[in-house]
Amino acid sequence: MHALIINGSPRVKKYSNTDKILEKIISGMKDSGSTGELYEISDRKQWEEIREKFYHFDHILIALPLFVECIPGLLLEFLETLPVPAKDEFAGERKVTEGSETDSAFSKKPVLSFLLQSGFAEGCQLRCGEEYLSILSGKLGCEYGGTLVKGNNFGIRLVEEKDREKMVLPYQRMGQIYGEEGNFFSEECKKFTGPEQFPGWVRVMVGLMFKTFAKKSFDKAAKEWGCTKSLKDRPYET
């Protein structure tokens, strides 16, 4: 299988968590003998080419970060410009009457799958975004290939190389499955999300971690970025 792969993050490739995840997905796809062609929504210069290619692929994967419970505004802006074919433009669905065969540009409906990743860790945080993706594939005239759902990715861009590798490595196996099956419907992909909600004791532990380790690492990152204010600063308070 040869898939069109779109990084739907508005963040430039270099800093995009989605990009680091996709590296592993694509490497996993190779393990299963599949290939992918990668494009970035953050680079508007690529939009025209993605638009032209979109409906010529049998398999499309859009990987995206959750932005306020749904898809990022920039990705939405791009998708609004896709030339969604009328239903009967797909050869697979077209009633071809003898002698009047029109030359359809499209062979059959693409299978559109998604990889939805987010900052918050628990699966329940991504379900609202996931529901939209299942609606979206229909609106775009595609077959839905399911969504790989995974949180806890905020730190990918902030951590050191070896920790980053640890965070993204599990996606390789998901890439392999995607390469084999062309969708994310398998049990293994569903389980990949992890817990829907942390049990109470984990919440207590994580809550403690927020006040200590996480706070320290955010403050450290801020310092490295040249921040001179408290992270709780209220610049617009009067």
Binding site: S9, P10, R11, V12, Y15, S16, S42, P65, F67, V68, E69, C70, I71, P72, G73, L74, L76, E77, L79, E80, F120, A121, E122, Q125, C128, E131, Y132, I135, L136, K139, L140, Q197, R203, V206, G207, F210, A214, K215, F218, A221, A222, W225, G226, C227, K229, S230, L231, K232, D233, R234, P235, Y236, E237, T238
Partner: protein, 186 residues
């Protein structure tokens, strides 16, 4: 204060809204500000921002508003004025066009760019992980849409987005339901 941001270029929606609000005893902060300053705050005061032709770029996820210039977005465009008003708003109503069953990108950008109102720090609120609000002010969310949309989905989404800011959903209404929307502004 009720902040209403119209991201469409259709002024008839805000004209209708304006009329319905006046009828229900609300007062326009923009108009009153010229007369008297005293009415700027309070529950029955509203302000309409026409943003249909404003320059509002999408969020690019740079995280500066959390980690480099806390509370300030690195994109200096027409959104800054809206953000400053949000700090004093009890309610945010976005009027948005629709696309692909959802609100369109101009509407969504208003929410994506809202991150400066939260801080980087995290906590559990009830059973949900949340960012702390930067300001004390709580702002409930309402949505008015123009065009075809999956309304049930928009309702679910609006509820979740509000929850992120520890506030309530005031409901989702099509532009034909302005009167119903106004009853939720009290």
């Amino acid at each position: 204060m009720i902040l209403i941001v119209n991201t469409t270029t259709d002024r008839t929606i805000t004209e209708n809204l304006h009329a319905a609000l006046e009828q229900n005893g609300f007062s326009d902060a923009g108009a009153d500000a010229k007369k008297e300053q005293k009415n700027k705050k309070g529950n029955n005061v509203y302000e309409i921002v026409e943003a249909g032709e404003s320059r509002i770029s999408p969020c690019i996820g740079c995280n500066y508003c959390w980690l480099k210039t806390p509370g300030i977005c690195s994109i200096r465009d027409d959104y800054e004025e809206i953000l400053k008003k949000m700090v004093h708003a009890d309610q945010l109503w976005v009027i948005s066009g629709t696309a692909l069953g959802f609100m369109d990108h101009k509407g969504k950008n208003i929410y994506d760019r809202i991150l400066p109102l939260a801080t980087m720090y995290l906590h559990f609120k009830g059973k949900q992980m949340r960012h702390y609000r930067r300001y004390k002010q709580k702002m409930d969310f309402g949505l008015i849409y123009s065009g075809e949309a999956e309304k049930a989905y928009l309702e679910r989404w609006n509820g979740r987005a509000a929850l992120n800011f520890e506030s309530r959903s005031l409901g989702v209404f099509s532009k034909e339901e302005i009167k119903e929307a106004v009853t939720c502004m009290h």
